[in-house]
Symmetry: C2
């Protein structure tokens, strides 16, 4: 057995374990068999991930006598579509899986969201196992049960809440990630420190090199991020309140992603979140909520790990402040000239602010615009 | 206000009311507004139902200041498809509805299942209001939260459990149904008596003429059927046990529907259930579980109301007994040569039988085959 750390997500009847450590692909059959004895399975993955990790996972399942069906899709955000959903649903039904059988997602956030959605609707809900292969998926999309696809009218507009029965976060597979992708995932790790764990943020400032290098701090950082997210999700499974804290950095971040037309050559999600978190701290300072030292500390850490932290770090031209505000207003509902934002009183002291005047946001964007 | 009867479906946080009575389309705005103040809405309906009832519902909503978007689909079972689902989802998003807004299903079971599924997945779950316009939908698909579409691999294989916030069963609209369709829905009403309400079945034997004629017994029959289904659903919301009792008559019925290739000119769902219920009683008698008098009583009542009750009542040729058994085995999972059936010890004494030998089913089908 691997020396994995276990984080339990406490959701009553829907509680499940996240195992975090090296070599979990190889012991997948044993871990799944222990929790879902006799289950049959279908693996959903993408071509890139399959090329590197599918054989290892299949061998790990075969060791426990599990022979999965395999459904392989093209990589990339375009796979979060109705067409791909239909393909996965049909593949699972073709494999004659029943409600008690399991869909296994092997991949990053796109595959996890898509396969989880399919598992949530085939026979009105089947078992679901996540095997996240990106840092972002290990600390974010694999915890919390949000699944879904994109619509031509916006991202993640269609889906269900469907909790996995087990998450296997193999920290060894992260060594195969491109550095830029690892960094983007790291932004979400730092986010949990900034939301409500100031000591964790301070620990990250001292230990990030070991996390990037694959030392023991990597497992601990992922485990702490999962614990942090699990705490929030357990308080608010269906996102009616506190769960919005997880959107720290996402309001500015989403607007920047939209403004760069989701062109990953210019900006990926985690980079948008990094810049968004720095802006949220700077904006909180402008509103006299937080000290400029805290904003500077966030910016310095993002810069140290090699993440972008200001709009000027995005290659190419950005639309003007007014247009950026339009993207923010499209993402969040504007109510009587005010927006909901995640703001902060300092490192680890984030809160939901429901009445942020759009005029303040506009002035702030104008002041911080690189043009 | 209309003189509606209210049946509460007790599902804790997801509890909701079913209102049953005449004139509910006209008071829809008041009833919805009372429970979901300030809600915006989209009506999902089909061309046939829209032609007869859409104006009345829209006027009923307008009276309370609600102006719905309207999404109209072709009538018929083919509309329970991924394509139609995508069309409804897009229509709801185009109307810019939020999670707290409501999708209203105006139609029979096809529209209810499809619109409920869309409501369950847009923004990971929106409010849903059922306005069932067929007797079958009023007593069956509008209670219990099962939603879904068909797959080329089988019916209802894809969907979610998503409870409505309100059901408005307008008994006046049933006068616009063709008699054959009303009768088919009546088979499901009688089913609740046969499952566990022997007094209700006896009452139906005495009052069915008034139910068909639209007298006060119609409202009472629908209310009692909804109460019966709500009781079973409250005990087993996610169909892990007792809820299977609702499948009385459905194992034989589904096989006959498949054997006639879902050709509604030959057999509609409720007619299949009628024959299936009669066969389930006759089969229970063959297994020495129930008296032949009970089977004869069920057959006599179905015959009296004009429903088919034996395989010979289906126009055209049926495949042989072995082929029919194949359809049954396809519908239910065969485990070690045995099938799960809903059998009975007499009127109102149904139970789940998990080890019915396929050989017994085959002999029974051979004996009762019309060829």
């Amino acid at each position: 057995m691997s020396a994995a750390v276990t984080v339990e997500v406490g959701l009553g009847e829907r509680a499940y374990d996240i195992l975090i450590g090296p070599g979990l692909l190889a012991s997948a059959g044993a871990e799944i068999g222990k929790r879902l004895p006799g289950t049959r399975t279908a693996i959903v993955t993408d071509e890139n991930v399959a090329a590197v990790h599918l054989d290892t996972l299949q061998a790990g399942l075969a060791a426990s006598g599990i022979t999965p069906a395999v459904i392989t899709l093209p990589p990339g955000e375009k796979t979060k579509s109705f067409d791909a959903l239909q393909e996965v649903v049909d593949g699972v039904l073709a494999a004659k899986l029943e409600r008690g059988d399991a869909v296994i997602a092997l991949g990053g956030g796109v595959i996890g969201d898509l396969a989880g959605f399919a598992a949530g609707i085939v026979r009105r809900g089947m078992n679901f196992v996540q095997v996240p292969t990106s840092l972002l998926a290990q600390v974010d999309s694999s915890v919390g049960g949000k699944t879904g696809i994109n619509s031509p009218r916006g991202k993640n507009l269609v889906g269900v809440f469907h909790q996995p029965r087990l998450v296997l976060a193999d920290t060894g597979v992260l060594d195969t990630l491109p550095l830029r992708e690892f960094r983007a995932g790291y932004a979400e790790v730092a986010k949990y420190g900034l939301i409500d764990r100031p000591q964790f943020f301070a620990w990250l400032e001292n230990n990030w090199q070991d996390i990037f290098a694959g030392g023991p701090a990597r497992i601990e950082a992922i485990a702490e991020a999962c614990r942090a997210k699990a705490d929030v999700v357990a308080r608010d499974e269906f996102e009616t309140g506190d769960r919005a804290l997880l959107n720290l950095g996402h309001t500015f971040g989403h607007a920047l992603e939209a403004a760069t037309r989701y062109d990953s050559a210019r900006l990926v999600h985690g980079e948008g979140v990094a810049i968004g978190m720095a802006l949220a701290h700077r904006f909180s300072n402008r509103l006299n909520l937080a000290s400029p030292d805290d904003a500077a500390r966030v910016e310095a850490h993002l810069k140290a790990v090699g993440l972008p932290w200001r709009m000027a770090d995005i290659p190419g031209d950005l639309p003007d402040a007014e247009t950026l505000l339009g993207f923010i207003a499209q993402d969040k509902k504007v109510q009587r000239g005010a927006l909901t934002f995640i703001l902060t009183r300092g490192i680890g002291q984030s809160f939901i602010a429901k009445d942020v005047p759009t005029s303040e946001v506009l002035s702030f964007l104008e002041e911080n615009h690189p043009a």
